[in-house]
Structure formats: C-alpha cells, structure tokens
Amino acid sequence: MKRLIIIGGSVAIVLIVILAIVFFVRPYVFHGTVIQSPDPAYDFTLEGTSGPVSLSDFRGKVVVLYFGYTFCPDVCPATMADLARTMEDLGKRAGDVQVIMVSVDPGRDTPETVEKYVQTFDPSFIGLTGTEAQIAETASMYGIYYFKHEGTAATGYLIDHTASMMVINQDGRLKLVLSFGTPPADIAADLKHMIN
C-alpha cells in the first residue's frame, strides 16, 4: 500500500511539474501574424522634417510602421490614438519603440504636415513622405495596397489603404503584422515581448 502511495505521489508530482513547465515555458502567442523571414525588412529612405530617414536608422529599437495620410477621416486617427495608448501602456519601455507613419498621399502631405499630424497623438512619433514612386514601392514591399478615389467637397479625394501595422524588430527584421483594431494592451504586450 505504502509503495502504491509513493508511486502514485511520484506520478502526480511529475505531472504537476510537466504542466508547470508547459505553462511557464510555452511559446508566446502573438496577437498578430508572425513573420519568420531571416532577411532584413525593406530598407526605405523617405523624407522627414529634418531630411532623409531610413528604416535602418532605427536599428536597436522596435519600429511600428503604419501607412496612412493626414486627411484620413477614420482609420488613421483611430490607429494613431491606439498607438499613443500603447506607448502609455509601455511606460518606461516606450523609449525602445519608434512609431513611424508613412503618408500614402504625397500629393497633399508634406514632411511637416505628416510630422505635425502624428505628433498630435504622441510627440515621439515620426511622419514621413516621399515621391509617388518611393511611396508606391515602399508600400508594395510591405504588402500595402492603396487607391485614390473621389470623396466629398468637404474631404477632397480619399485614399483606401491597407490598415495593418508592421512591427520590425531591433535587428531590422519584420516580425509581426498587426490588424487594424488590435487593442492597445495587446499591442503593448507583443511589443514588450519583442523588447525583452
């Protein structure tokens, strides 16, 4: 009987340990789509308020890259507001993250207007623009589609565009694609995991 208790107890301990291991060392499940490419993300060079800015300038930081435009009526301000809340959630770790918005409206957005727009959400955000060709190439390389169409007299033309956010790790590799509407707490959790 004593022997049975010892064996049963041992099996129970082993099972508990296995469950604990599975729980504590289980792979982190991101809230977005993970990319496993060993190649560096496309290294664009676009125009900021202080001159050319390249993705490679931010090696060592996690970059959240978003394509939008300042006349955008809905999706862009909502995304920028979510990213601003994400930065608040990150607290001290916010300094390890750089949010960049690339304008898909180079006809109306200048480096100054994009910068001013993004910094109304968070002063650390950067806004970039470029020529039509530079923007088209950069957007395509990040899986972004955009298309200009008629709006109203009040809005002028509008631009439909992919609303995903691209997350590039400290080594310059695209690691994560977050969908529009991902809650800021989830974005912050993913970014913290990448920072750590």
């Binding site: 340990v17 291991i21 499940v29 990319i35 490419s37 957007a139 899986g143 955009y146």
Partner: protein, 221 residues
C-alpha cells in the same frame, strides 16, 4: 526517491521538446515573408488587388503568354490544382489561383482572356492578370514575390518559373520552383491542406501547439 523524480523531470524537460521536434506531431508551413501589395487588371478588365485576396489561400505563378517553346508549362500545374481543389478540406477559406504576366505590353486583356480560355481556367477560381501600373512590375514580381525575370533583346523573357502560396493574411507560406520532371501539383495540394488544417485547428489551447510547431520548424516536406 527524490533523486529519481528529479532525474525523471529533467529527462522529460529535455525529451519533450526533442520528441516534438523529431516526431513533429503537428506540421505547418513556414511564415516566409509578406506578399507585396498590388493592383492588377485581370482577363475581364476587373481590378484585382492584394486586399481582395485577404481571406483566401492564393497560389500565384508568373509567366507570359508569348513564351516560345520549350517554355516552362506552369499552366499544367495550375490546372491540376484547380481541378483537384475538391480533394482538400478548405473549411471556409476559398482557394484562388492567379497567373501574373510580366509582359503587360503584349499580354492585353484580350490576350489574357484567350489564354485563360485555352487552358481551361475556371474564372471563379483562376484569374490571369497583369499589373495596373507597369512601373511597379519589378517591385511586385521581382521585389515582393522575389521571382526573377528579365527581357531579352528579341523580346522574349528569361525567368525563374515558380509558384508562390500565400495565406489569407497576405503572408507567403510556400515557394515552389517549377521542375518539369516533378509532379509539383501533389506537393502544392498537400501544402494547401496543411495550411487549411492550421487555420481550422489553431484556436484556443491548440494555438500554443501550432506556435510550438513553428518554433521547432516542423515544416511539411
């Protein structure tokens, strides 16, 4: 006794991941990189964009209709995949096939329509298209899909015949070099099945197991 339990636990800690990596109880396809953003015009004159492809599995190939013989017969593989779609449990995710021409000057809408009809393409599944903005051709095919092509002096093209499988989130999950001697359609169909399995089963607690499969590179052959 304590020592034995400790050894057993240590063996399990090492053996469990090792067993997962060796026996691969779950197989997945790698998440290679993002497919490019694009806007194409198909054989019926409709605009087809990368956004339209979201939510579908898409198999792409890249060629041109004036390709002189002997030319890589990519259409035969695409046709096989089209005809054998019923073999795969796709769940709620449709499969689409897109043949992109890198010769927009000669592959006009009419030429593409003729080509689609000649190879028996079901327009609901398989579209023939070329890019809407030719200046982005190299970016989309060469840069995004990483398929090499170059035009020769005589107007023909030297190109790398290949197929690219993209999931519903716009991530490239498979790249297949065309080889005339290999029945590539079998592998592609099997891989679409693996992808579909992941989409259907990778929910809740099972998503951790699928993440482990990615972590241990349990990739389908």
């Amino acid at each position: 006794m304590r020592r034995r339990i400790l050894i057993a636990v240590l063996v399990l800690v090492v053996a469990a991941p090792l067993a997962f990596a060796i026996f691969q109880p779950i197989q997945v396809l790698p998440r290679i990189r993002l497919a490019p953003g694009f806007s194409l015009i198909d054989q019926d004159g409709n605009r087809v964009t990368s956004e339209d492809m979201r939510g579908s599995f898409v198999l792409y190939d890249f060629t041109y209709s004036q390709c002189p013989e002997p030319c890589a017969n990519l259409d035969a593989t695409m046709r096989q995949v089209q005809d054998r779609v019923g073999e795969i449990d796709l769940g709620d995710v449709p499969l689409r096939l897109v043949t992109i021409s890198f010769d927009p000057e000669r592959d006009t809408q009419e030429v593409l329509l003729e080509k689609a009809q000649a190879v028996g393409a079901d327009p609901a599944v398989w579209q023939f298209a070329t890019v809407e903005n030719p200046s982005l051709l190299k970016t989309i095919i060469g840069g995004g899909f990483e398929d090499y092509y170059a035009q020769n002096e005589d107007g023909s093209f030297t190109f790398d015949p290949k197929f690219v499988l993209v999931d519903g989130w716009g991530t490239i999950r498979g790249e297949y070099q065309y080889r005339s001697s290999v029945p590539e359609a079998d592998r592609i169909i099997r891989h679409i099945g693996v992808l579909s399995d992941e989409v259907q089963k990778s929910t809740g607690a099972a998503s951790v197991a699928y993440e482990a499969a990615h972590l241990f590179l349990c990739y389908a052959k």
